[in-house]
């Protein structure tokens, strides 16, 4: 085996990518535990579909669309990195942040109208799960927005540390996928 100081037996994958994948694996287990608890509790109780009927499916569907679009703009931001296009990178990162904020705004609107209708976290087990699951997801969205915003600020100084866009993208897609599970579980069943 040829050896220079920088040759490693390790793979050629970026350490950051390996790290993010392991982090996401633990996140999968976090939401997996929550979703599993929800499913088990739901199977053990009755009348939850009646409770779920008070949620607004159209609003949530629009929100799903917003989040999916933001995943697309995130992919385009990474595409801009690969093409060496700092302007495109900034534009698409900005759009991703904007769509993320839109998602949170719509979610806040949903929360307030539900609370106004008398459905709070203590109304019943379904609502406890609803607020906890969507709340934890919203915190993850917020963390993603902050990350993307930081990347946007960094991108104004050029294209250094571009691989971070890919890593943030992995996280952002994960947050998106979690919502894809939450939406039908909470709103549609």
């Amino acid at each position: 085996m040829e050896t220079t100081a920088a040759t490693r037996a390790g793979t050629d994958i970026l350490p950051g990518k390996v790290g993010v994948w392991w982090f996401l694996a633990s996140e999968v287990m976090l939401f997996g535990g929550l979703i599993g608890s929800f499913i088990v509790s739901r199977l053990g109780s009755s009348g939850w579909s009646g409770e779920a009927a008070h949620l607004s499916v159209p609003v949530a569907a629009i929100n799903t669309l917003v989040l999916l679009t933001s995943s697309m703009t995130m992919v385009m931001a990474f595409g801009a990195v690969e093409k060496g296009d700092p302007r495109g990178l900034r534009t698409y990162l900005f759009l991703t942040v904007l769509l993320g904020l839109t998602f949170l705004g719509i979610k806040a609107y949903e929360y307030s109208s539900e609370v106004a209708a008398g459905f709070t976290p203590v109304t019943g087990l379904f609502w406890s799960f609803y607020y906890t699951m969507t709340g934890l997801h919203a915190l993850h969205v917020l963390a993603g927005i902050i990350t993307n915003l930081a990347l946007f600020v960094m991108a104004r100084r050029g294209l250094r540390n571009q691989h971070r866009v890919e890593l943030a993208g992995l996280y952002w897609h994960f947050v998106d996928i979690v919502w894809i599970f939450l939406f039908p579980l909470l709103y549609l069943t």
Binding site: M1, G10, D12, V18, W22, L30, F31, V122, T132
Partner: protein
């Protein structure tokens, strides 16, 4: 894509760095060896706290409701605090920081031939996060209402409402301290795995890694994959306590058993998170002092991974009498008995390594042998607990307490001390005293058994765990002399740690300077100076030519053959 070689070249470029100030060198250091020592100091400090709680608890059990010397009156409420905080501190703030935090950080980069961890700043962050978590936990003793008292397992409904225990902020802070600790070890685990996957030295294939690295990586993986559901549970528990939901409260339609499932889904893998690093230390120590290759290198790896996978499907053996569906008892009994197979293979591999070896009875070797023998006892009593028919009789008794301490205490104490005595020369560049070390070992072994073996008898006699006053029960009164005996053995077990403390401090300031390779061992860390300099290796990182356990090999002039030594074929 950026060029990976360029990324890796950064530490090389900073080889000739300017001197860092005091703060960056000793406190906010990003250097893996310093961080490892920080974890070790924190863990050793918390051992004193957890050990003191054990002493107060034992005195209360021997002489219920009397003044505890050095503490004062205990009473049932505070006894619950003692039980809870002793368990929490020892598992999360002693065992994990020392076995995983200290040794993982110190050993992984050195053993794989890296200059530091993959994410040095994240590494620093994970230690200081743990530090904050420790402060939060300690602060919980001083808030109104006192510290958490719902057991280290925090079962609801007891833990789900402040009025049930009379502890409000203490338990909230207890949950918070756990959350912070989990975040810390998540960051640490990601770092360990990424480092070992991407930063191995040339020639260091996965099947040339020292076993302790395998065990640490398996432990980190188990933690990463099992802690999520418990974090979800902790969020729900905190919601129950603060927001007034009733996830775990039956009166609001909740299910207390759900917590037990989430807790033990994490809890059983967590046992291996602590156990596997200790097994790893023993795997390193045994061949060095037997002067023989470790028996069944690959079998140990496969057994470790098998045990890790199985650990995700055994959790309900903690719940046979919890009121869960009794049809679940059988499958979980079977998986539990199955999981003893990989551990039996591990133990057999260790014994086979000893077989026919020319054994050097140094202090680390004695502790390693202590671990193997005590772990066998703990493993055997585990079969009783794992089989539902036997467990129905002994569950929640001192039999379980005895079993638990034979496995975990032996892992943390015997495994941990084997590690500390073995790597102390590398960590601090000085040798520890062998005579004091041997005194420490024999006293610990004797009083360990005197403390925990009688607990099995108490358990079979029906003594429930977590009771503050056994004298309240007529059927336990004849057993009280055993309780008194255990208490004095436990005190002597604590006293037996004084030779270690003396030896440790003495070794730090006045120990004989250690050579590069005082134990004549093969793994890469012994190729670095003692203690290794900043960035571990000089100009070039070592190249690996073989596996880690080539002892008594005919290839070299000595009876050991370091992983990085190039053997030139003899031409005769």
């Amino acid at each position: 894509m950026s060029d990976p070689v360029a990324v890796l070249a950064i530490p090389e470029a900073s080889l000739h760095h300017e001197e860092l100030g005091f703060w960056r060198t000793y406190l906010f250091s990003t250097e893996h060896k310093t961080i490892g020592k920080q974890y070790l100091s924190l863990g050793l400090f918390m051992t004193i706290v957890g050990g003191f709680l054990a002493y107060v608890m034992r005195w209360q059990l021997a002489y219920p409701d009397t003044e505890v010397p050095g503490w004062g009156f205990v009473g049932p409420e505070f006894y619950n605090v003692l039980v809870t905080m002793h368990g929490t501190i020892m598992v999360f703030f002693v065992a994990m920081p020392i076995l995983l935090g200290a040794f993982g950080n110190f050993l992984i980069p050195l053993m794989i031939g890296a200059r530091d961890m993959a994410f040095p700043r994240l590494n620093m962050l994970s230690f200081w996060t743990l530090f904050v978590g420790t402060l939060v936990l300690l602060a919980s003793f001083f808030v109104p209402g006192g510290a958490a008292s719902a057991g280290w397992t925090g079962y609801p409904p007891l833990s789900a409402k402040a009025i049930y225990t009379g502890v409000n902020w203490g338990l909230n802070l207890w949950i918070l301290a756990h959350a912070i600790e989990f975040a810390s070890f998540l960051m640490g685990g990601v770092n360990f795995l990424t480092t070992a996957i991407t930063m191995r030295a040339p020639g260091m294939t996965f099947f040339r890694l020292p076993l302790v690295v395998w065990q640490l990586l398996t432990a980190a993986t188990l933690f990463l994959l099992s802690v999520g559901p418990l974090i979800a549970g902790a969020v729900m528990l905190l919601m129950d306590r603060i927001a007034g939901t009733s996830f775990f409260l039956p009166e609001g339609g909740g299910e207390p058993l759900l917590w037990q499932h989430l807790f033990w889904f994490f809890g059983h893998p967590e046992v291996y998170v602590i156990l596997l690093p200790a097994v790893g230390f023993v795997c390193e120590v045994l061949p060095v002092f037997c002067r023989k290759p470790l028996f069944g290198y690959r079998w140990i790896i496969y057994s470790t991974i098998t045990a890790g996978i199985l650990s995700f499907v055994v959790w309900a053996h903690h719940m046979f009498l919890s009121g869960m569906d009794p049809r679940l008892a059988m499958p979980f009994s079977i998986t539990t008995i199955l999981i003893s197979v990989p551990f039996a293979i591990l133990v057999f591999a260790m014994i086979a390594t000893l077989w026919g070896g020319s054994i050097r009875f140094t202090t680390p070797m004695l502790f390693a042998l202590g671990f193997v023998s005590m772990f066998i006892v703990g493993g055997l009593t585990g079969i009783f607990n794992g089989s539902a028919p036997a467990d129905i009789y002994i569950t929640d008794t001192y039999f379980v307490v005895g079993h638990f301490h034979y496995t975990l205490f032996s892992a943390v104490v015997f495994g941990g001390f084997a590690g500390i005595y073995f790597w102390f020369p590398k960590m601090f560049g000085r040798m520890m005293n062998e005579t004091l070390g041997k005194v420490h070992f024999w006293l610990t072994l004797i009083f360990f058994n005197a403390t925990f073996f009688p607990m099995h008898i108490l358990g079979l006699g029906g003594m429930m765990r977590r009771i503050a006053n056994p004298m309240q029960y007529q059927f336990l009164q004849p057993l009280q002399p055993i309780n008194v005996f255990i208490t004095f053995s436990a005190i002597l077990l604590l006293v037996a740690q004084i030779p270690f403390a003396v030896n440790f401090v003495w070794g730090l300031v006045a120990g004989t300077p250690a050579e590069r390779n005082p134990w004549e061992a093969n793994t890469l860390e012994w190729a670095a100076p003692s203690p290794p300099p900043h960035l571990n290796w000089g100009e070039a990182i070592p190249t690996v030519h073989r596996g880690p356990y080539e002892y008594s090999s005919p290839e070299g002039p000595e009876d050991w053959l370091p992983q990085d030594r190039l053997v030139v074929a003899r031409s005769s």
